[in-house]
Symmetry: C2
Subunit: 305 residues, 2 copies
Amino acid sequence: MAEFSIIDTYFNRQKLSDDDLGVGDDSALVTPPPGHQLVICADTLVAGRHFPYDTSPHAIGWKSVAVNLSDIAAMGAKPHSILLALSLPQIDHAWLKGFSQGLYDCCDQFGVRLIGGDTTQSPHLTLSVTAMGWIEAGQAVTRSGAQVDDLVVVSGTIGDAAFGLQHLGHPLQQRLDYPTPRCELGHLLRGLAHSMIDISDGLAQDLGHILKASQVGAVLNLNQLPISPALKSLPESQQLQYALAGGDDYELCFTISRQNYEKLLQLQPNVKTTIIGTVKQQYGLTFEKDGLDHSLQFNGYQHFA
Amino acid sequence: MAEFSIIDTYFNRQKLSDDDLGVGDDSALVTPPPGHQLVICADTLVAGRHFPYDTSPHAIGWKSVAVNLSDIAAMGAKPHSILLALSLPQIDHAWLKGFSQGLYDCCDQFGVRLIGGDTTQSPHLTLSVTAMGWIEAGQAVTRSGAQVDDLVVVSGTIGDAAFGLQHLGHPLQQRLDYPTPRCELGHLLRGLAHSMIDISDGLAQDLGHILKASQVGAVLNLNQLPISPALKSLPESQQLQYALAGGDDYELCFTISRQNYEKLLQLQPNVKTTIIGTVKQQYGLTFEKDGLDHSLQFNGYQHFA
């Protein structure tokens, strides 16, 4: 079966509007909404590294889209479309059917269309998705805007996916396999948050990127971390390891003034958010617990072992 | 070495303008020029499949950009920027240095910037590049616009890269390793060509995509195919095999009215173009030689063997 047949069979479902052009030409063609900037990112998933080998093809399809929409959400943008670069060892129709269904399920849930890409044969299963979104010009939320006295806030609960990876078969594996990109929350935060990132490598490491880019520090209150009931039954040191250094959460971490945080809550985002700390002038990440300074050392996910 | 260090060391050279944002945030941010449409594509190169294992890292870097700019050119668009998704087995600094230099050399030659992407560890070297370009709204040249009586035209010479692949060490290996995307020609052809494609899988197969999308046929004059002197010394059947079914040329094939072709020549594109046939009403690709019908069967590159 040639590449063209794979695309026609599995990846040619969605049609664009008359002015635009999707799967099936040299490139896709997209008309920008007036007054908007393009937000674009690409993330790769490698079998055995970014997901266990026995992950269901449906989950792989979902996750390959979700992790990229999470990067779009972290800029405050509204996701628009994706390209898929799929490298796979052989043509396995059951796999392709499940994978494409998972991919489209995630696209459908977040109003995103697959508009192009490439299918190639490779000894090792590798998926690169490029995601695009649009944001009103000048409204993008970057990593570099954190301000002293901002609140540090995270969405959802953290550490679940890392726990799921260590406990395959546990219900929290769902959080590893089917991350939920916080698209609505991210888009609501444009014009409100001062800085934002999505948590892919662990809260401490990812918040560290905000602090470095913004040249500020932060103190986190360990009593406030939003931790799932399943993790709450673990010894505290393990809870903190998962919550601070566990990757693959795809929750949003942002800094925001208290006034703007009140505005956000009035907009009633569809996911819980939790204040976990405060931005400080002095560079670096510190912790406090029960009102006292607390010393901790954590490392996040390393892409090369 | 973490992903961040690789990016900082090898892929953080180019800065964007003040309004835009490149490598180092969750996503890149690009301001569309007013009245333009976004043209976007993604192509993957897999070691051992899209280039021989012993290809120089510099050539791999060049080619990974060039094949994508070729897709942008084939729409008539002007290339703007790329994202790189690089999956590699280990950190080899000599390799990364050569690769990034080749990538930037191609970017520089065509006025393109690397604005984002992802570096991951994988057992097998795989590169996916996403390329973006802009085109005046409504001016994109697709595969579906071929009109009866159009001329069929190709740029440069065809079959060289396939010959180079079969004769590694021959000077024509340069055409395999360092393809030249026809960016200037493609952009000149917006508003002039009726249909266009870049030749990646062989002329016969790629022209076939135009014919299918446009629901027309074409007759090619085999005497007119632009073939390099090195290939001219081969038996004719081999010449035709390379020229019609050899992949990796990254020349442009387009259909155009005679009047518009005259206009193109007055613009003096920086690459030779050759009329090789005519678009016909009856669907399918046929050949003539020395004024007579000529029967040929060819297959182009198959992405899955």
